[in-house]
């Protein structure tokens, strides 16, 4: 990427008013103290889209608006929602709608906020979507640990039923659907849609083999099922009210609408921002006073994760890329779940790499050998390097094990596994080893980090505390 076209002085966004803006679509109630209540929602325009959809539009027309919007799913894969809804086999019933509120990809923080601060907006989107896809029932699957989100959703569902917005003959029409709140119990892998369906059937949350278990054809109880993310469906009321074209007019043609990004790590003001999709760049997010207001202590970016722990890392040459799906895919990573993690120049890359790998090794469901064994090995090797017991052959070994999980160690990753979790553990290794190989070598030769970086007191590595294996 470091060719002659890169301008010598990077653009300066450190003054207000230099970044593109757009309307807020789904974060309008984040600062409204009663935005989560039925009254607070209705007072600010809530449930008008549902009324419009059920009384003025056919299911096909609603579907068409979502297709026109070209809204990409916000859960990770970025698949267009309207296209996905079109995959349902035409004559198979009952069908189900499952809402994925399992948010647990490290760095990701938006769905919990949407559920806690604007539960009715999500519910309205769910009922509209259920109407569009003719679902017999919808299941709101919320991550187990999110007690407040569950509480707010339970109250919102009770209120919505009481106002005839869910249930039998909604708003006096002949459309009926139920929405059930249900929840998990702590397992990252359950965010993967087929694992989520298993969990919803009362099983251990292990992914199903695709094909044949594409949820749209064989999902919950092997019936056609649409799985959509919380943020995806929260956008549906706006699309119905304002039109799919209005959504498409925002952002970039290849990444439409507004989108929420959580920017965390070493910036002055970490935060959750709804920004014009596809045209906002990483540098804008990091530097603009409207967003993060610069890297902490005036330091520089050493690396950043553009789309959640599963993504390949980016570096300073990527700062001016727009948050546009095809652009980021082509540059060798992904926007995933909208989770951007910034690491400044004091970051110990070996420790950061271990942290992410350790996450995947702990969360592997154990169904396939390369993932179960491979991630465990990667984690152990990294830990011994960190502990000062690294061996000269360890770097090659890391790459070898990675190769057996994800042949070619390329992007998009190939996999020898049932689901993408295994290959996700390879991303931090490929990123950190390729870019900061000298930091690994330094650990192996000298038993400690390179000068100038800060190594956190990781358990099981320093001080002999409990080992996370």
């Amino acid at each position: 990427m470091s060719d002659a076209t890169v301008p010598p002085t990077p653009p300066d966004y450190t003054q207000p008013g230099r970044v593109p803006t757009g309307p807020k679509l789904i974060t309008t109630r984040f600062d409204q103290p009663d935005g989560y209540t039925y009254d607070g929602y209705v007072r600010t325009g809530g449930y008008t889209a549902l009324r419009k959809a059920l009384t003025e539009m056919t299911p096909e027309q609603v579907h068409q608006e979502v297709k026109t919007s070209e809204m990409q799913g916000r859960g990770g894969a970025g698949f267009p929602a309207g296209t996905k809804w079109g995959f349902l086999p035409p004559d198979v019933f009952p069908r189900y709608l499952v809402i994925n509120g399992d948010e647990s990809e490290p760095g990701t923080y938006k769905d919990r906020k949407l559920m806690e601060l604007d539960p009715h907006q999500l519910i309205e989107g769910v009922v509209i979507a259920a109407y569009a896809v003719r679902a017999a029932q919808a299941f709101l699957y919320v991550r187990g640990e999110m007690a407040l989100a569950q509480e707010r959703l339970a109250q919102a569902l009770n209120d919505a039923y009481a106002h005839n917005l869910i249930g039998r003959n909604i708003l006096g029409t002949d459309f009926s659907v139920d929405v059930v709140l249900t929840w998990g119990a702590g397992a990252y892998i359950v965010g993967e849609e087929t694992a989520l369906i298993e969990s919803l059937e009362g099983e251990r949350g292990m992914p199903r083999l695709k094909p044949p278990y594409f949820p749209a054809s064989k999902g919950l109880y092997l019936q056609p099922t649409i799985v959509n993310n919380v943020e995806t469906l929260s956008n549906v009321p706006w699309i119905v009210n304002q039109s799919g074209q209005a959504f498409h007019d925002l952002g970039a043609p290849t990444s439409t609408g507004m989108r929420i990004f959580a920017v965390s790590g070493h910036v002055n003001h970490p935060g959750v921002f709804e920004v014009p999709n596809g045209i906002t760049t990483f540098r804008m997010l990091f530097d603009a006073p409207e967003y993060c207001g610069g890297v902490r202590d005036g330091r520089s970016v050493k690396a950043f994760i553009p789309g959640g722990a599963s993504a390949m890392w980016f570096f300073d040459e990527h700062l001016d890329l727009p948050l546009d799906k095809p652009t980021i895919d082509k540059a060798g990573s992904m926007l995933g779940s909208g989770a951007i993690v910034v690491m400044d120049d004091t970051t110990d890359m070996v420790a950061a790499c271990w942290n992410v790998v350790n996450f995947f090794s702990r969360e592997s469901c154990g169904k396939c050998t390369p993932c179960r064994e491979g991630t465990t090995w990667l984690q152990r090797i990294l830990k011994r390097i960190l502990a000062g017991d690294g061996r000269p052959e360890d770097i090659d070994l890391l790459m070898d094990v990675s190769e057996s999980i994800s042949p070619g160690i390329a992007w998009p990753p190939r996999q020898t596994t049932i689901c993408p979790l295994g290959p996700s553990a390879v991303s931090p290794i490929a990123s950190a080893v390729r870019r900061f190989r000298h930091e690994f070598e330094h650990y192996i030769q000298h038993g400690r980090a390179v000068d100038g970086v800060v190594t956190p007191p990781i358990h099981g590595v320093h001080g002999g505390a409990r080992i996370h294996v």
Binding site: E145, A147, A154, R168, V177, G186, G202, A262, F359
Partner: protein, 195 residues
């Protein structure tokens, strides 16, 4: 430490009836049992098995997959310190170490007075508020060591009132099954299953 109470059986049956197949209620019912006892007692799991119509072994098999379920007593307050990547970068390990020193136990264990269980946990979806901590799944953001001192002291002296319900209690509002429940999913699925 036993079977579900009569009141909880009523709640359980209401939950089961909302799903097209009873087994789908398994995890919510296990949470109900954990809410009742603070952990999953064997009798409670057997009772849940009866209610959803599977074997106790199946219930146990599912339950052990999920980290939130505890099979023995834990502290009244489960103090979870996030060690996910964003928190790792912002002082999570130092905070965890500090909490261990304050409580005199290592992560993964419970204090002798059964007041605290401390754990280093994966990302709890509060990454922009790092380092993040939760107590019985209620959050505290951008926690400094001094905040941690105060939090633990307040919990010890029961000064935080109802902010942190007992371990096992999640939502304090339950979804109800109202009169206008449509029941279309269950009816359609049961028709398919009968074939």
């Amino acid at each position: 430490m036993a079977r579900l109470t009569d009141a909880n059986v009523v709640v359980a049956k209401e939950i089961i009836a909302r799903f097209p197949r009873p087994k789908s209620a398994l995890i919510p019912l296990l949470h109900l049992a954990q809410e009742q006892d603070g952990f999953l007692a064997n009798d409670a799991m057997a009772h849940v098995a009866e209610l959803v119509g599977v074997t106790a072994a199946e219930v146990y098999g599912t339950a052990t997959f999920y980290e939130m379920f505890k099979f023995e007593r834990v502290g009244r307050y489960c103090l979870n310190v996030c060690t996910g990547i964003s928190c790792h970068l912002m002082g999570a390990w130092e905070l965890l170490e500090h909490a261990e020193e304050l409580l005199g136990v290592k992560a993964g264990s419970t204090t002798e007075d059964l007041l605290f269980t401390i754990e280093g946990v994966e990302c709890i979806a509060a990454c922009t508020e790092a380092p993040a901590v939760s107590v019985n799944h209620r959050y505290r953001y951008r926690v400094t060591p001094e905040d941690m001192d105060r939090l633990i002291d307040d919990l010890r002296h029961d000064r935080l009132g109802g902010e942190f319900p007992a371990h096992g209690v999640l939502a304090r509002v339950r979804q109800r099954t109202p009169d206008n429940w449509a029941g279309t999913g269950a009816a359609a699925q049961q028709a398919v299953d009968a074939r």
